[in-house]
Amino acid sequence: MHNIDDIKQSLRELLSRQYFMALATQANGQPHASLVAFAATDDLEYFYFATPRSTRKYANITQECRVSLLIDNRGNDIKDIATAMGVTVEGLAQEVTTGERDSTLPIYLEKNPAMKEFVQSPHTVFVKVKVLRYRIVTQFQNVVTLEIAGSK
């Protein structure tokens, strides 16, 4: 099993290589999963994504800010079961404020330059997720939890 520093390093690698994540939101007890392009900060504390304001996922977030994210490196190959890494994030979602936008938007656009037009549309909301914890699955059934202290 890996040391905490090794785990953080493999998380960084995964998050920089993967472009898409599954975002789970909920409203009135009904979970809702969507696929979104994302970027994460190097300190592993924040995720960013963008969505049109009229979507179900955004409506859900405004009702319930607790969300879950799933990022993995499967290649749709049967061998993935032994080798793929799956990471579930639990966090709190919130629209990025105007003040924060200038410092955080470049993080997102550096990874997803094609989304520039999309993000700049007046209808699009830029959302941040503050990470509470990572649940990391490797080697089929090994699971570790990485808590961010003070977030409990």
Binding site: M1, I4, D5, I78, K79, A82, V143, V144, L146
Partner: protein, 713 residues
Amino acid sequence: MNLTPDLLQLQEINDSHHRIAGGKAVNLARLQAQGFDVSPGSCVTTPVYIRYVNETGIASRIAIELNRKFQQDMRWEELWDAALRIRHMFMTTPFPPDMEVMLQNALSHFQSIPVVIRSSAAEEDSARHSFAGMHESYVNILGMEEILEHIRLVWASLWSDRALLYRQELNLTPDESGIAVLVQQWIDSHISGVAFEQDPTSPDRAIIEAVPGQNQALVDGSIEPHRWFLDNRDGRILSSVPDDSRLLSPNQLSRIYAVTQHCSRLFGSPQDVEWTFFQDTLYILQSRPITTLETEHPGETPWEAPDKRPWYLSLTKSFHHLKKLKVHIEEQLLPQMDRQAEELAAENLEALDNNSLANELHRRRQIYGQWAETYHSQLIPFAHGARLFGQVYNDAMKPEDPFAFTRLLVATNMKSLARNRRLQQLAKDYLADPSQGLLDKFLQEFGDLTYDNARLGDQTDNWKRWLNRLAVSQAPEEQLDISAINRLTQDFIDRFPPEKRSFAEELIDIARASYMLRDNDNIHLAKIESRLIDAQNLARRRIASYFAHQLDTDQLIQCLRDPHYIPTITTRRLIIDEPLDKHMIPNLTHPQFETQTDEFVLNARQIRGQPAGTGLAEGPARIVSDTESLFSFKQGEILVCDAIDPNMTFIVPLAAAIVERRGGMLVHGAIIAREYGLPCVTGVPNALDFIQTGARLTVDGYLGIVTIHDKDS
């Protein structure tokens, strides 16, 4: 469409086929082209293997098996377990129908003649490596069904325990690696052997070894070969062992010598040539570069060397070796150990002055060290008996569960179980009559158990506490159904033809003795260790310093000899008087293992190990690592430890399940867990880093998964 051929005849093979036909086939084809006599053969190429593992899904199953944990965390026993599971996959997974038809047609000329089926891997026999004996060979195989089955067994040997030890060097990956198989007509020869163009210890000499009959006897060491030394400039015979050997004639010797010289020139390096005579024809079975397996640090014992793999390889003993070893252990070593302990116990330590006590301490440490060495060099290798039986059992019975064979091994009364039954009885007696007399009797019987450098008999208060707890606890039933075991044993023996049944019976005997010894060997050693601890304890009492309990043997000796000596107290030394298993565990302590940095905290939720005892249990964990935690163990707790030592099995009847960092299906913890029907997961990496006493665990002994529950759930 296939661009590469599935099958190649030996005479069609050339150097360009190295990747698909492997080193052995290419070398034999070269020899044949040079006019040497080589037995006719066909080569099932590597792409056929690759298609088989991918189409049947075995490739992913191997990946899952090998990704259970990081390779560096896998002990050799776990590698053996993995190899057995993989072998079982190949044995029980038939060919895809079209492949079976293709092989039947392509090999139809071998339908009714006996054949040899051998591996031909791209890596073996190359100039850089010679991984001799890494993969399997099968001789005298008759009939298409048998041929097809043995092709799969040779394929499986790509993943043998030996190969897995050298997985990195061999560059083994489940979906890309492959192995070719050579099917050759079997030569029913009357004399065979091996010739070395160069004696590894004396380069001016060549060596020829010969045995009557087949080479197998030479390879597995069951017959001592006759040996000739020749001058390797002119082939002159220098000497032979025995010195008047006539097994080979001078003419035969000179023909073998000439062939060896020729092979060495042809392949450009000194060769080791396997040969056999059929009537007057000298057949070459194999030629490969000479290599020697030497430990890198001469003088170091192999189980202490940085690269322990040559030592692990040496542990797989043949049937004949095991047979001899069994007699030696049962009739010599164990009685000698017990006698040694008794002799030491009879000595009156109290009568010694300080200087003599220092000498005695030194002597006892030496004696214990020597026996610990014997333990490594003779008792541990004997553990292979159970493994050898496992493989033979699986071949004969093809059971669904590759570890079904362990059910046959418990037929004999396990000493640890007998001990625990006796302990339970004594506890009940003691509860009824808590007299000193009964306690003394008990300590007489159980006092020499040792744990964590302490003699448990010295812990009277702890034992009182323990007996009171044990008397009111509910010990689990042992899972022993003798009639079922006898039935299984008979089924196994009946599977052999009459002339081989005595082999089957002897093998079961060896396996059971090996399993029993595994259960009990440390107890014999602990008796000797107890006498070392007696001397240490007396020395500590005489020194009467507040720190005496922290001094190691060297310091105690110094203090006794020199009243002015002031020892430096450092942290507790773990290894010094413990030459046992801990030396074999490279990562026993890993002080660098961090679970916290800045604001991040790492916890484990699920850890995967090996399913070593079936069942499901939930309960609070107790980490057992010293005598305090040992005696604090309570009924219903889950025993979490580095490795279960036979000295501590008395707590097992109270456990709800067992979690062990050390891995293996045949390690002591796994054996005892199965005896009591307890769920058991072994080989759980970092178990002691992530699990704390009191944490709620779920132990899934079916899948080998330990779940650590959140404190608040």
